[in-house]
């Protein structure tokens, strides 16, 4: 993968709003943004309602994902252009998801909603009606998803990249600062994880930095290119953003997203936790 195949610009998007076989999908945590105006023709996916299992603590399975995309009128051969708020966090999460379930042609809109807004590009409140499809998701590709036992075993062995803010990494905050801080889990980070906040990878307008800049950022932070990598955050959405950078833009092999992230790890009994600004020892 590379920038050319994983990312489209706002200019490209505006020129291809009506292109056949191209489906724009807005993915958000707060879907009122979509309801108040979205990229013309875009359908919405609600991160919580649509992508999480309503009962089990997990995301939707292969059948549920197939049903969701069929219902939204997305076909296996469509080019899916994902975008959203929060600097594309949830769009990146959905991208990872589309990849996990084997969608062939999926891209992120560089800059997401923010770039679109700041460029003063058009919005629409019309909800498009798309004919239903019969989408078939592939079996989940678990080479890009990390689970907790694997994460514990990766301490001191693989690259662990904590992409939360420095204060969350150190244990001074438990959640991103736009959310209340009341949480059940312990504060801190996984020992030996390096701290590279997701935001290092993005420009102020939400677009991704250049490949040269990105390579330098992770290199200087101590990411070892010869090792496998697991990225995590609090709930797995910001780390999808970094997973996207490492795997899809920089083309690094063997990068996994740990979607259980700190809400799971910080609640586990008996696992090691490091406090403070340093990675800590294995």
């Amino acid at each position: 993968m590379s920038r050319d195949t994983a990312l489209v610009s706002a200019d490209w998007a505006e020129k291809n709003l009506d292109a056949p076989g191209v489906v724009f999908v807005e993915v958000d945590e707060d879907t009122t943004a979509y309801d108040g105006g979205h990229i013309p023709g875009a359908v919405k996916i609600d991160w919580k309602q649509d992508l999480q299992d309503p009962v089990r603590r997990d995301f939707v399975n292969q059948e549920q994902f197939s049903a969701l995309l069929s219902e939204r009128g997305i076909g296996n051969d469509d080019k899916v252009v994902l975008y959203g708020g929060n600097n594309n966090w949830f769009a990146a999460y959905a991208y990872w998801y589309f990849k996990l379930y084997g969608h062939r042609d999926v891209v992120l809109l560089d800059g997401g909603r923010k770039k679109w807004e700041l460029d003063a590009r058009p919005y629409s409140k019309d909800v498009p009606s798309r004919a239903k499809t019969s989408y078939t998701a592939s079996a989940p590709d678990l080479s890009i998803r990390a689970f907790r036992d694997e994460v514990v075993q990766a301490i001191g062995v693989k690259n662990l990249v904590d992409v939360r803010s420095p204060d969350e990494f150190a244990g001074r905050l438990l959640a991103p600062a736009h959310l209340p801080q009341e949480q059940s889990q312990r504060a801190g980070h996984i020992p030996t994880a390096i701290s590279v906040p997701w935001s290092k990878a993005a420009n102020e307008d939400g677009t991704f930095k250049s490949d040269d800049e990105l390579g330098k950022i992770y290199g200087e932070a101590g990411l070892d290119g010869s090792k496998d990598t697991i990225a995590y955050c609090r709930i797995g959405e910001r780390s999808s953003h970094t997973w996207f950078v490492l795997k899809e833009l920089l083309g690094q092999q063997n990068v996994k997203n740990y979607d259980g992230s700190w809400t799971e790890y910080g609640s586990l009994i008996g696992v090691p936790i490091a406090l403070g600004d340093e990675p800590g020892k294995a």
């Binding site: 943004a33 708020g85 929060n86 600097n87 923010k114 807004e117 700041l118 003063a120 803010s165 420095p166 204060d167 001074r172 905050l173 959640a175 991103p176 600062a177 736009h178 959310l179 209340p180 801080q181 009341e182 906040p197 935001s199 102020e204 307008d205």
Partner: protein, 109 residues
Amino acid sequence: MTSPNIAAGCAAPDQSAPLPASVDLEKETVITGFVNTADGEAVGGAYVRLLDSSGEFTAEVVTSPEGVFRFFAAPGSWTLRALSRAGNGELTVDVTRGVNEVALSVAAA
């Protein structure tokens, strides 16, 4: 530039969005306020980011149609930076536990 805490300073009316009842102000440090233009017009849809004392990104929210934003932070010094169609603006604040109200102006570069 450091701005005085409005709530403490000039008793401006509370224009912030109501806080959820579950938020414990004994524990939370809330930074809230509104983005406006030099003419005092509210700027909805502005992107406001919270940067820590080292300038590192901590959070970002979009203002409501009334220009309101809100963060849950920690006591200390923070920088607020707004980007919008109406222009950009920046402000450094020192906050304490409880609700801290600030006003952030934007202007075209």
